[in-house]
């Protein structure tokens, strides 16, 4: 690897360390907030928001999604659509239950 490439990886390594610190702090925050015994909606909102940020950091930087090829974005977009469909599929049964 040439010198420029080596420096590029060194920059990546610094980013990984920053992301690790952020993930550790967010883990502490999400556990800390759970001891506050917030209302159900607020607790779910805070926990899933923090999990979403943590997941975004892992996918974006450790999995290099921030600088990935377009074909991967298309694959993941399609997956997201189907994932949301599966997640909200039970809503279709609401009327039957009533």
């Amino acid at each position: 690897m040439d010198a420029a490439g080596h420096d590029d990886i060194q920059h990546h390594v610094r980013v990984y360390v920053m992301v690790f610190i952020a993930l550790a702090c967010l883990t502490a925050v999400t556990v800390g907030v759970s001891y506050l015994h917030l209302g159900r909606a607020a607790a779910i909102g805070v926990a899933l928001t923090i999990a979403g940020i943590k997941g975004g950091l892992v996918a974006g930087y450790f999995m290099h999604l921030v600088s990935e090829r377009k074909v991967i974005y298309w694959v993941l977009s399609l997956t997201a659509v189907f994932f949301l469909f599966v997640l909200f599929l039970p809503l279709l049964t609401v009327n039957e239950a009533q």
Partner: protein
Amino acid sequence: MSDIAIPYMVKPHPVTGLPNGKLGIWLFLASEVMLFGALFSSYVLLRTGAESWPRGADELNVPLATVNTMVLIISSVTMVMSWASLKMKNLAKYRLYMGLTVLCAFIFLVIKYFEYTSKFHHNHFPSTSNFFGIYFTLTGLHGIHVIGGIIVNVYLLTAGTSLWHTDPEHFTNRVENAGLYWHFVDLVWIFLFPSLYLL
């Protein structure tokens, strides 16, 4: 037959712009999203449909799970550092970081073992309630993924390393693909932890 190489394992495919292995692992991860997504949807349905549902923290061991969350996050960092070490042509550091990744994976499983046996001693089994049913299903499936990751990473740490001496770029790509899988296992836990233990 041995002279015929599988195309585009190192160089990007002209259509996708990616090596075939990398596209393959992303498609596999897409199917994994659907597998865990379906179970997560089942969890939401069971929970919203139940007359009462226990708070995770009242039934499960939050401190142990917090330690396990940190163990997996550390293993993700060491995994990506093992790939970065190969990019910097440093095989010794690669071995160190990959070894630490495998060690963290084993620590995660040992802690999970203590969690499970504690539940069994208190007569909490998958058949006990819907809560424990979905808890054991989701964490069990995740645990199987951790074991799968250990098998791949141990191979890349031992016999698989021979590829480094003949085709270092190909080996680096393999480690990157194994890393994508490992980070996904970490990502799943990041959502399972608050959903099962904290809410």
